[in-house]
Every structure is written in structure tokens, then in C-alpha cells.
């Protein structure tokens, strides 16, 4: 039954090949004349200050958690969508309740400013 997935396998193979090829061929046949300016992180940009890896604000964490929660919501939409016709109105109500409960959370997050970046 895995034969159904061969397009995905080909896609993975092609994209892996491309990713490797770009790096390898660039490394092998590209001319290399390094200078201090070219090695700078932002060419023609501003000088970076401090180390590149610094602690990120906790705001990102909140965004990631909200992303997970809505991602799980999407996962539940999927088996519903493929059964949409034979579940009928009843299935519609079920999913409506599910979405409304999460919508409450969405509205709350919005009003609390969790989605703002100020």
C-alpha cells in the first residue's frame, strides 16, 4: 500500500538531491575570493552587535504554544473533512461546537494582547 506514496518519496528524493547538490557544487566549482566585507554577516548592512545567539523573549514561547494548539485543531478537522458528506448535519454541529470552544480561546488571546507584538 506504500506504493500510493511514491510521489512524496520522489519529492523528498528530488528536494534532498537539490539541497545537497546546491551546497556541494557551489563548494566545488564556485570561485572563492574571500574578503573581510564579504565575510560579514550583513554585507552592506549594519555591524552586528554582541553574539549571534542571544536569549529570545518569552513572547516567542507563547506564539509557539498557540501554534501547537491550533495545529491540533487542524488535525481534527482533517478526518471530519473526508467524512463530511456521510456525517451530515450532525457532524457539522459537532465540529461547530469544537470550533466555537476554541474560538473562545482565540478571542481571549486576542483581547489579552497575546497576539500583539507592541
Amino acid at each position: 500500500m506504500l506504493i500510493n506514496y511514491w510521489p512524496i518519496a520522489i519529492l523528498i528524493a528530488v528536494s534532498t538531491f537539490l539541497a545537497v547538490a546546491v551546497v556541494v557544487f557551489g563548494h566545488l566549482i564556485g570561485p572563492r575570493r574571500p574578503s573581510e566585507r564579504k565575510a560579514a554577516p550583513y554585507e552592506s548592512g549594519m555591524e552586528p552587535i554582541g553574539p549571534g545567539t542571544r536569549r529570545m523573549p518569552v513572547r516567542f514561547y507563547l506564539v509557539a504554544v498557540l501554534f501547537i494548539l491550533f495545529d491540533i485543531e487542524v488535525i481534527f478537522l482533517f478526518p471530519w473533512a473526508v467524512n463530511f458528506r456521510n456525517l451530515g448535519v450532525f457532524g457539522l454541529i459537532e465540529m461547530f461546537v469544537f470550533i466555537v470552544i476554541l474560538l473562545v480561546g482565540y478571542v481571549y488571546a486576542w483581547k489579552k494582547g497575546a497576539l500583539e507584538w507592541e
Binding site: 450532525f90 454541529i93 473562545v104 478571542v107 481571549y108 483581547k111 489579552k112
Partner: protein
């Protein structure tokens, strides 16, 4: 399937709570200027309405959602207890949160969600629902435990409870998976049917049941899964601790009783010795370590562990079909006794607690008998009730538990119970001695709702003792149609 087949009316109280919690959450961000003062009142209204719809459910067992939930006498009895506990917890929290500067509307919303989780737990007749209800009861508690943020101890309590709780949830889930693997069922009645037909791999059922026991044992703070209890009880805001001590125990024991009595009677021969050991360890560790505590919150934490031990005593007999109804009724009764005494004693703790964790040592209670005679009397009643001295609910509760244990012919356990009760008298009565015999000038708070809670629980501890026979009859009626 249609909507009418779901039996939504049968779980109306839970629906009311969930919807009301969502409404309060939105009201909280949209409407009121002084919302953290209004939300507790509104959440109490929600609890009362749910209670009004719960009480008439007593009687014929009903089902909902294809038998995933069973609303029988057992569930209704515990739901009534939980809803009243919720009301008491709201009353306790109101003044405390204002005083400590922690008042936020989300607090009460979380509490409502947790209560709806406990109510699902009491009616759950399917292991998947047991797990989800366990999470729904626990996740709000993790958040509430850390509600004292940015106070370090409260954050520590929250993270500790969360990590260990998630771990325990994993145990339950793994156990459920093994039980499903052994029987091909998640419904409790389906499991027992499959088990009676003979299993290919009975070991999986046994291991699965043991893992579920570990996970739920964590929730009810049974030794050796109790390590988190003192730290979390001490670090969490006191009003949260009061709610957690009762709520998590009721939910955990409800699931333990129903799952093991309905689904796992066939393996009771193997499980009972384990339960025996668990109970003995819980009784001994809880009571012995409590003796060394000087901090009142830690003292009550160990006390709560030891009372989990007393409840477990009746649970040990679960394999014996003739004692089972009696033992279950005794557990229900004991939970009422524990809930009312526990809330009362935490109310007194709140009355003496000050910012920066002052007023929580045993010495801070010195002279309370002179300065606040009523408060000291209430505390004395609770301590007597915890010890099991008449005329208090604690005495009646222990009486019924011991009766069930002796009927089940676990004499060793009964003797152990009496011995640890004597030990417990030492540390409970020490509180009374400090209050009345030592000189001191304790600073106390006198706030309307707090005083009311203390008074009601103190009077209830004594008055319900007088009516303990009808109450026990009610509990016995409740479990009648369970098996």
C-alpha cells in the same frame, strides 16, 4: 446518530459549568471594569445552578454519549460534594486573593474547568474519558498552583506539580494502552466482559491496571507517589491548596473506585496485596512524617496524605463482592468528612496567613485561643475531626471505614489504622495545645466570606456528625445500583 440520542440532558450540570466558564472568560476580557470582584460571584452562581440540576439526578442511573458516561448514584453523590466544595473554595479564595493581590478573573474560570473535569471523572465509564477528565482536572490545577507568580515558591510548586503530574498522566495512558492491548476494549464493562472470557495475555491486563494505579495514586497522593505533595501544598496559594486537597482527591478516588471495581475485579487477587502495601505505606509515612512538621501548610499536606491512606484502607477490600457496597459507601462518607474538615482547617490557615509567607509556623498560633476564641474553637474542632474524636465527622468517617475493613477481614490493616490514628493525635492536638496553652499575640484577619466559611464548616463538622447515619444511608443508596 442524532443529537437526542446523546443524552445531553443527563450531563446538563457539566455542560452548564463548561459553557459558564467560557462565558465568564469572555465577560472577563470584555465587560466589567472591576471584574475580578464580580467573577467570583458569577462563578458561584454557575456552581449553584449546576447544583440545582445535579440533585434531582439522584435515582435511576442514566447514560450519555453511548455509555461513555454513567450518571449513577455514585457520580451524583460525588458531584454534589464537588460542587459544594467548589462554592466553599470560591468563598475561601475571594478575600485571600484580594489580600494577596492575586485577584484575577481567570482564577475562577480555571476552577470551574477543574470542577467540570472532576465531574467527568466521577461519571467516566470509559478509560479514554478517564484520561481526558484527569487532564481536564489537572491542567487548571497546575496553573492555579503557579498563580502566585512571580513568587518563587508558587512558580516552583506549579512547575513541580506540572512535571510530575504529566509523568503520572503518562503512566495512566500507558496503562490504558496495555489494558486495551489485552482486552481490545476501553469501556469498563467491555473490559470485564473480555476478561471473563479468558485473555491471551492476562499479564498485560495486570501490568496495565498496575500502571493506572500508579498514575491515579499520584493524584490522590498515595505513598510512594506523594513526594510532590508537601512542596506543592506549601508553595501554592493557600486557597488553591484547599481546593486541590479536596478536588484532586475526590477525582482520583472516584476514578480508582469505578475503574477497579467495575473493570478489574478479575485480577483483585493479584492487585490486593499491592494495594495493602500501598495503604500501609501511605498511613505510616503520612502520619509519621507529619509529626516532624513545624509549618502548618506542610503539616496539613502530610495530614492529607494520611487521609488518603484511610480512604485506601476501604479500597483494599474492592475484590470482595460482599463488602464492596459497604466499603464504597464508607469511602463516599469519608470524603464528605475529609472535605468539610479540610476546607475548614485551610480557612483558619488563611485567616492567619500574611504576605511574604508569614504566619504559617506552628508558633504563630500561640495565643489564638485568647485573642480569637471562635477561630481557635473552630480550629480545635477541625483538629479533633482529623484525629477522629467524637462528636465530629472525622470520627464517624473512620468508624465506617474501619467497619468495612473488618468486614473484609483485613484485621492487620485495621490495627495499623488505629495505631496511626494514635500517632496522629500527637501532632493534631499539638496545634490545639499551642493555641490554648501558649502565650502569644497572633495577627489574624477577619474577613466576611472567610469567617462565614470557617463558621459553616465548623458547625457542619459537628452537626453532620449528628446526622451521620442518614448521610451514610444516602451514600449506601448511592452505590446500590453501581455494580
Amino acid at each position: 446518530m442524532t443529537v437526542s440520542e446523546l443524552g445531553l440532558l443527563n450531563i446538563l450540570p457539566i455542560l452548564i459549568l463548561v459553557v459558564w466558564a467560557c462565558v465568564l472568560l469572555l465577560l472577563d476580557v470584555f465587560v466589567f471594569p472591576k471584574r475580578e470582584q464580580v467573577t467570583p460571584l458569577l462563578s458561584a452562581v454557575g456552581l449553584v445552578v449546576a447544583l440545582i440540576y445535579t440533585i434531582p439526578q439522584f435515582g435511576q442511573p442514566k447514560e450519555a454519549f453511548n455509555g461513555m458516561l454513567v450518571i449513577d448514584g455514585f457520580a451524583v453523590f460525588l458531584n454534589v460534594l464537588v460542587l459544594i466544595s467548589g462554592l466553599v473554595a470560591v468563598a475561601l479564595s475571594y478575600d485571600y486573593l484580594n489580600r494577596m493581590g492575586m485577584a484575577r478573573g481567570e482564577y475562577y474560570v480555571m476552577m470551574l474547568f477543574s470542577i467540570s473535569g472532576i465531574m467527568l471523572m466521577t461519571s467516566a465509564a470509559d478509560l479514554i474519558v478517564v484520561f481526558l477528565a484527569l487532564e481536564l482536572l489537572s491542567i487548571p490545577l497546575y496553573i492555579l498552583a503557579a498563580f502566585g507568580r512571580p513568587k518563587m515558591e508558587s512558580e516552583e510548586a506549579g512547575i513541580k506539580y506540572f512535571l510530575l503530574g504529566a509523568f503520572a498522566g503518562g503512566f495512566v495512558l500507558y496503562g490504558i494502552a496495555l489494558v486495551y492491548g489485552a482486552t481490545g476494549q476501553t469501556g469498563l464493562t467491555g473490559i470485564v466482559e473480555a476478561a471473563s472470557g479468558g485473555l491471551e495475555n492476562p499479564v498485560f491486563l495486570l501490568v496495565g491496571a498496575a500502571l493506572i494505579l500508579v498514575g491515579l495514586g499520584f493524584k490522590v497522593a498515595a505513598v510512594p507517589f506523594h513526594m510532590w505533595t508537601p512542596d506543592v501544598y506549601e508553595g501554592a496559594p493557600t486557597s488553591v491548596t484547599a481546593f486541590m486537597a479536596v478536588g484532586a482527591k475526590v477525582g482520583g478516588f472516584a476514578a480508582l473506585l469505578r475503574v477497579f471495581m467495575i473493570a478489574f475485579p478479575s485480577i483483585s487477587v493479584d492487585i490486593t496485596p499491592v494495594l495493602w502495601g500501598l495503604t500501609a505505606a501511605t498511613l505510616i509515612v503520612g502520619n509519621v512524617l507529619a509529626v516532624a512538621q513545624r509549618n502548618i501548610k506542610r503539616l496539613l499536606a502530610y495530614s492529607s496524605i494520611s487521609h488518603a491512606g484511610f480512604i485506601l484502607m476501604a479500597f483494599v477490600t474492592y475484590g470482595d463482592a460482599s463488602v464492596r457496597p459497604e466499603a464504597t459507601a464508607a469511602v463516599l462518607f469519608y470524603m464528605v468528612a475529609f472535605a468539610i474538615t479540610s476546607f475548614g482547617s485551610w480557612a483558619v490557615v488563611i485567616a492567619l496567613e500574611h504576605a511574604e509567607d508569614r504566619g504559617l509556623e506552628l508558633e504563630d498560633y500561640a495565643g489564638l485561643g485568647r485573642k480569637r476564641p471562635a477561630l481557635a474553637l473552630a480550629m480545635a474542632i477541625f483538629m479533633f475531626s482529623f484525629t477522629g474524636v467524637p462528636p465530629t465527622m472525622g470520627f464517624a468517617g473512620k468508624l465506617y471505614i474501619f467497619r468495612a475493613v473488618i468486614q473484609g477481614e483485613y484485621y492487620g490493616l485495621a490495627v495499623l489504622g488505629v495505631i496511626v490514628s494514635v500517632i496522629s493525635a500527637y501532632y493534631y492536638l499539638r496545634v490545639v495545645v499551642v493555641m490554648y496553652m501558649r502565650e502569644g499575640d497572633p495577627e489574624t484577619h477577619s474577613e466576611g466570606w472567610l469567617n462565614l466559611t470557617t463558621a459553616v464548616t465548623a458547625v457542619g463538622t459537628v452537626v453532620l456528625f449528628i446526622f451521620s447515619a442518614p448521610l451514610f444511608d444516602w451514600a449506601a443508596q448511592a452505590v446500590l445500583r453501581m455494580f
